[in-house]
């Protein structure tokens, strides 16, 4: 039983960790330095353009030449849900975040609640290159005449299927058929599920965002039936494509880029055109309230709307774009075919673009919070 530790400071446990004043002060200084610099939000301040949006969308606004000329860097932060943008801006992000990418439905209330700054259209000359069809989106993007969001990409939540396994579906109701039990999945996103299935549950409903309680209940009932017929409730779009790739499902609410994602796994997916229609949407670029690099932000947005950038963005992400000239330049045949760049009206022929649900009580219409509560009821069912 010998004590091999014979160092001078180990005579007793109490003295094993000596704390000299100098050491303590050095430590305290280090902690203060960490608090002052190391823990400071990495995205804050001029010269660092903070981007908050979906992964892949940063490609549209990361203009290296412009950033280099301005002596600035690009700091992307990726979101997992659209609501992350609002949450981050509300919880101290204003003043440090520059660009966000809200879905068109969220722009109006985000602007009204003061988390966005208006965009100076005179600093975005490439707006002129936008396809004329998309000018009508202004109703969702302008508040008191000021523009708070510029659409830069579009896509939809279509009914996708594996033609090697099942016949081409003609209605969303095909996903509810007993022969497909355990071979279908819905979508992880609340808005996509609600607006899509409201069209199925309430024949003839013009705008799903103007629903009564009874219509919402019928929608949820159908969603619960879909869930009962489903393989799982998918956690992400990546998981849906994985399920297609592994042969676990034959039909799903999907997203156009999945065609390519699954192609890489040796499965050829097709997109159906259900009689009830398909939910299409635009994502917009916005300038956050008190953005630290306002002028530079405008330059980056303008760059993102140029024909060259839009073409690259579309081919890299398999997504729709808004620049009319760029549509003609897309050479990837899969992308061109999916989005009908030669005839954009044909793409939107079987699509619908709902507005935003009321945020406050409005007659007998359900509010957005009631819709989200109903979505949770569906999750619990």
């Amino acid at each position: 039983m010998t004590n091999r530790n014979t160092g001078p400071n180990t005579a007793s446990p109490a003295s094993a960790l000596r704390l000299s004043r100098r050491f303590f002060m050095a430590g305290a200084g280090g902690v203060a330095a960490l608090a002052g610099f190391g823990l400071k939000p990495a995205l804050a301040g001029q010269g660092q353009v903070a981007f908050l949006g979906w992964e892949g969308y940063d490609l549209a606004f990361k203009a290296d030449d412009i950033l280099k000329k301005a002596g600035a860097s690009f700091q992307p932060t990726y979101i997992s849900t659209i609501e992350d943008i609002i949450t981050k801006l509300r919880s101290g992000g204003m003043g440090s975040i520059d660009l966000t990418t809200l879905i068109y439905q969220y722009v109006g209330f985000s602007a009204s609640s003061g988390i966005l700054d208006p965009i100076d259209e005179s600093l975005v000359p490439n707006l002129a290159g936008m396809h004329p069809r998309f000018k009508s989106l202004d109703q969702f993007l302008r508040i008191d005449g000021k523009l708070y969001g510029i659409p830069f990409t579009f896509s939809s939540i279509p009914l996708m299927y594996n033609p090697a396994k099942v016949a081409r579906p003609t209605s969303w109701k095909d996903m509810l058929k007993p022969e497909h039990k355990g071979r279908v999945v819905g979508f992880p996103d609340a808005m996509s599920m609600i607006v899509t299935w409201s069209k199925v549950a309430n024949e003839g409903i013009a705008d799903p965002s103007r629903m009564t309680r009874e219509q919402l209940d019928k929608t949820i009932e159908l969603m619960v039936a879909l869930k009962a017929n489903s393989r799982a409730v998918p956690s992400s779009m990546g998981e849906i494509s994985d399920m297609f790739g592994r042969g676990e499902i034959d039909m799903a609410m999907g997203w156009e880029p999945m065609v390519k994602w699954v192609q890489d796994k040796g499965v050829e997916l097709a997109i159906a055109s259900p009689s009830e229609g398909t939910f299409a949407y635009f994502d917009t670029v916005n300038i956050a309230k008190d953005a630290p690099n306002r002028e530079l932000d405008h330059a980056l947005i303008n760059w993102g709307l140029s024909a060259a950038t839009q073409k690259t963005f579309s081919e890299a992400n398999v997504l729709g774009i808004v620049n009319a000239e760029a549509m003609g330049k897309v050479t990837d045949p899969v992308v061109s075919k999916i989005f009908h760049f030669d005839d954009i009206d044909a793409y939107f022929a079987d699509k619908f673009l709902p507005g935003m649900f009321p945020l406050e009580p409005e007659g007998d219409l359900v509010t957005w919070d009631e819709v989200l509560q109903a979505f949770e009821n569906y999750q619990r069912a």
Binding site: T81, R90, R231, E360, L372, E376, Q379
Partner: protein
């Protein structure tokens, strides 16, 4: 006297950083969350209030998910604790010179990472996974078994495998502290191997068993990733609904009320488990 004051000052100074971390990063946010849980939300903005409406809503709408979460977390914690005790006991009693190696090998699984483990289990349990391929290959089943993945069973399997090393550590520590003389004495007095375990070993391990159970229970009750990635259509746990309040619904007050209700439920379950262990494993 001066020496004692200096020693006290030194103790305070040494405890200071830990107390500051605990206070600022845990207690303060917890108190803030408790205050916020009485607020309300209007147009996604928090309005200070002193209402119990959030708690009423939680009890009315989420009693089912809370009960399900408590039940599955208790089952996972119980299974993991029993398995961990078996492994720890094996390492302690039979490991011999390899004891340290076996313990190291057990802890090595922690380096894999949480998500990696989940995806590994998805590969094992999926339609084209190792289990289904083997079963189909051996002709034991004609079609792959879909129920292996996206089910409560998958959630239990993934979490038990993830939590096992965490549960082994306190149990192994407790077993090492058991005096071999007391075991020898029990044997000399005619106790069977099962009797030795029941009367001489387990009573000394009650605090460690309770710690392992609590650790596994709390980690499971707060989890929202595993049920989402491998759970089925009926496996949503409270973590999923709480996450939804902080993200999708932007309703922090309701999310905070849900968190505290789940926390109180967890404390009750852990308290019951602790009392049960003390009662059933008391020294005779």
């Amino acid at each position: 006297m001066t020496g004692r004051i200096r020693a006290s000052w030194r103790s305070v100074a040494l405890m200071g950083p830990a107390a500051a971390v605990l206070g600022f990063l845990f207690l303060l946010p917890l108190v803030w969350f408790l205050v916020v849980s009485f607020y309300r939300v209007q147009l996604f903005q928090m309005i200070p209030d002193a209402s119990l409406a959030n708690y009423t809503k939680v009890l009315a709408d989420y009693a089912g998910p809370i009960a399900f979460t408590a039940a599955i977390a208790a089952a996972i914690a119980a299974i993991t604790t029993v398995l961990a005790f078996v492994v720890a006991h094996m390492i302690w009693a039979r490991g011999g010179a390899f004891g340290a190696f076996l313990l190291g090998a057990t802890l090595l699984t922690l380096f894999g990472g949480y998500l990696v483990k989940i995806y590994a289990w998805r590969t094992i349990l999926g339609r084209e996974g190792v289990i289904n391929s083997t079963l189909v290959g051996l002709g034991l089943v004609k079609q792959p078994i879909d129920a292996l993945l996206y089910s409560p069973t998958a959630v239990v399997l993934v979490l038990v495998s993830y939590l096992l090393p965490f549960a082994i550590l306190p149990l192994y520590g407790a077993l090492r502290a058991v005096d071999p003389v007391s075991i020898e004495a029990a044997r000399d007095l005619g106790a069977t191997p099962a009797g030795v375990l029941r009367d001489a070993v387990l009573p000394l391990c009650v605090p460690a068993l309770a710690t392992s159970f609590a650790l596994c229970f709390l980690l499971t009750a707060g989890d929202f990733v595993t049920p989402r990635l491998v759970g089925g259509t009926q496996t949503f746990m409270m973590g999923n609904f709480i996450e939804s309040q902080f993200g999708l619904r932007m309703n922090v007050p309701l999310g905070a009320a849900m968190t505290f209700t789940t926390l109180v439920t967890s404390v009750c379950v852990i308290g019951a488990a602790w009392a049960g262990l003390r009662h059933f494993l008391r020294a005779k």
